[in-house]
């Protein structure tokens, strides 16, 4: 089955951890992830600048490793990212900000990517909505 997975909640929320484990289980079960889409406070899980305590789960780092290792299509909403300070090098330069912090494996793009994924997927599974 084809899954699109969306995350709306921040990295320290239970929803962010559940989304990560769900995504891992999706692949482990032989299914396909057509796209991961981070929106609202979910964009913070694609920041390379969050620091977890040594004995705590580093959700953002795990996401980055997971997306890269499985060569997944990982999209962070650009408008939500800009609003919350998750920038790639191009956006940091465009808005003259001192640093880019988008983690490896992710790309910034628009909400059209969410709709496209929803069209391609059998299931859209959202984590952390209200």
């Amino acid at each position: 089955m084809k899954f699109a997975i969306a995350l709306f909640a921040p990295p320290h929320s239970p929803a962010a951890r559940r989304a990560l484990r769900f995504a891992e289980a999706t692949l482990a079960g032989g299914h396909e992830i057509v796209r991961l889409f981070f929106y609202q406070d979910g964009v913070h899980s694609a920041s390379a600048n969050s620091v977890a305590a040594q004995d705590e789960l580093d959700v953002a780092a795990e996401w980055s490793r997971f997306v890269s290792a499985n060569q997944l299509d990982g999209v962070v909403c650009i408008a939500a990212g800009l609003r919350r300070g998750v920038l790639d090098a191009g956006e940091a330069q465009r808005y003259q900000r001192p640093a880019a912090n988008l983690a490896a494996g992710w790309e910034l793009s628009g909400l059209g990517q969410l709709h496209e994924a929803a069209q391609q997927a059998d299931r859209l599974v959202c984590f952390g909505g209200h």
Binding site: A6, F8, Y39, Q40, A79, A80, R83, G110, L111, G112, L114, H115, A118, Q119, L124, C126, G129, H130
Partner: protein
Amino acid sequence: MARSMLIISRQSPWAGPSAREALDIVLAGGAFELPLGLLFLDDGVFQLVGSQRAASVEQKDLTANLQALPLFGVDALFAARRSLAERNLDESSLALSVEVLDDAGLSALINRYDHVITI
């Protein structure tokens, strides 16, 4: 056939970016002419109150954007009767033309859509 999506907007317009970000999903989908619906539920129905003075809390008023939805091809707009009643809002004086649904209607509505996003 394109898959349909219902966006359920549950936050008031002054409770942070959620109302704006729910609307942005709808507008983005409208641009692709996808079959979309937008349901105002719980505090989301506060978005339907007219004459908001968003500038007094240094925000932008979403009302004009909501009223433009039919121009973007999105005219499946709904509100929950129970949510309106709980907040003492009059169905007949909303700033947007919406179909008001009771609980059974909500259940049927959600079942009609392929995908549901709640924000």
